[in-house]
Amino acid sequence: MAEEFLLSDDFLRQLMSVGEVDLLVGIPSHNNAATIGRVVETIEQTFQRGFPRERVVIINVDGGSTDGTSDILKNAAVQRSSGSRGLTSLRTERRIVTRYGSAPSSGIAFRTLLAAADLLRAKACAVISPDASNLTEAWVGHLLEPIYKQNFDFVAPLYCRHKYDGLLARNLLYPMGRAVFGKRLREFHASDLGFSGRLASHCLNQDAWRESPVEAAPETWMAVTSLASDFRCCQSFLGPKAQSTTASATDIVAVVRQIVGALFWSLESQESVWIGRVGSEPIPTFGPDHELESNGMRVNRERIFELFRSGVSELSPILKSILAADTEAEIQRVAAQDEQNFRFDHALWTRTLCDFAAAYHHSVLNRDHVVQALVPLYRGRIYSFLSQHQDSSADEIEADSEKLCLEFERQKPYLVEKWKVRSEVKP
């Protein structure tokens, strides 16, 4: 373990003054002054009501905020709730703040939290997003309790979402992750999650931290590591997730690069684990495993389709070097369809992703370029999803997602075949 290279002296001093803890909640932040005060108050209230006798600590790992985020966190008032039990008034509330640099980095922030969890011998840990504007006491409790009271090692969140939110998870991360690793974990990438001290130490001791996909999306890597290493995983329903604000084109590209890159990289690093797994099995779930709402949200579908079509046309030589010939021909065929009849069906989408994962593995191009080339096709798939489910109910969407998952499981041998044998290089 290399925390002496990672943690500042001041941070270590603060950790030593805390001693051992039962529960640790980490908040990685960067300019979250608007929301962090409420977040920390909610966490404190959770501790008072749900864990009155436990030794607890809140750790803020800040990536160079200039809006006083850390000060707000330190000074947020502790409201003694009337419903709190036990000797909470005698307990010292611990809040630790550390700053790791002038620019945010998920990898450094996450690793710092794991190192702190390891040093403090925390039994259960949770990471909470600092902009979780609708955070409730139940959220924090639902992430910590399965670990602290039922000995799980990893808790992934489940949210109630708008039917058009979380489409990367619904169309790519969940079906592909489920088919590959054989476990039905819905959120492979979550900004709120729970993990045991055991899993924290295990992850901390891995040599993967220098890899850029892990630095970019450590949450995804931890989810995969816990599944692949047979840690006890579960899912916990938290409630409605604050609807994401405008996702600009750049955001989508950045998200796909980070998270899909991390998933593809994880496939490679865990190759020996998944290649022989067949089918999938459910994992313990607390609360409903899906909940969708469909209040009004206007989506610029024409723009998405335009970006898909121009992407397929402009990136044609790149796609030829990534995709199998028949997959590429099929994509060109569907891209030529008009908007009304356009469908990016499950089978084609699955085959496309298998080809991309294999191309990433075989490095047919620079790996980051491979992932970036997926963005227009993801947009095509999303356009198809939006068109198909404009008037669908939650159950209909769920049934369709299940079909996609089964298609991925059916086509897993194709992925394995492409993964093992590098196809002949096309000129």
Partner: protein, 234 residues
């Protein structure tokens, strides 16, 4: 008369014998040097392959697009290419060394020139190769970035970047070998100036609409735009 002829022939014969006696050992030495060079070249190629195979050089070269360039030029993979290059450079060096042992003045002068040119040639090829790699990588990065951001004419950006880098690399390589130095500098200046002038003209004449759209995007009715979003991936 007869004696003169015999004397001349004897002299010629003696000269020939003397020349052969003088040349033959040098020739043998040349062969010996070339043979040693061949052996050494084989050994170096073997050891370089041995050293390079466990490294990720081929994968790095694949990721950087170098392998693609090599395949298009019908060349072997990077590891094999470097091994073969070392073999031939070593062998060539020993062949030239061997030839110089022959002591032919004109040849020696040419060889000496060739030896002086070799490092420059090597650097020029290296510059050209790195230039081609950088051009491929950056033009592809530009193409992906512009396509994903929804910019117009992404291929134009990509081609412009590739051309600029290739022109720069070629001019640097030619300058390195000292080939028509002044012509190259002048040609580069003219081409570069012309490209910039064309871009300035194109932007001035054709960019009015783009500027208007950009200003509208930033100063227009934001509320209206925010109503229609691309769905969040997370």
């Amino acid at each position: 008369m007869r004696e003169t002829i015999i004397q001349g022939m004897t002299q010629a014969y003696e000269n020939l014998v003397h020349m052969v006696a003088d040349f033959l050992p040098r020739f043998v030495v040349m062969f010996a040097i070339i043979l040693v060079g061949l052996l050494l070249a084989f050994l170096l190629r073997y050891f370089l392959r041995l050293v390079l195979h466990p490294t990720r050089l081929d994968r790095i070269s694949e990721e950087a697009g170098a392998s693609h360039v090599l395949r298009r030029a019908a060349l072997p993979p990077m590891t094999e290419l470097l091994s073969r290059a070392l073999f031939w450079v070593t062998l060539l060096g020993f062949v030239l060394l061997g030839i110089s042992v022959l002591g032919i003045a004109e040849l020696q002068e040419q060889i000496s020139r060739l030896f002086q040119l070799l490092p420059q040639l090597f650097v020029a090829i290296l510059v050209l190769f790195v230039g081609v790699l950088a051009a491929n990588f950056l033009s592809r990065a530009a193409l992906l970035a512009t396509v994903n951001a929804g910019y117009r004419s992404p291929r134009l950006w990509s081609i412009a970047i590739r051309s600029a880098i290739l022109i720069l690399a070629i001019s640097m390589a030619l300058e390195q070998v000292g080939l028509a130095r002044q012509t190259v500098v002048a040609a580069f200046s003219i081409v570069f100036g012309a490209v910039m002038f064309a871009l300035a003209l194109a932007f001035g004449l054709g960019g009015k609409d783009l500027a208007r759209q950009t200003l509208e995007r930033y100063l227009g009715d934001k509320k209206e735009k925010e109503k229609e979003v691309e769905p969040s991936p997370l």
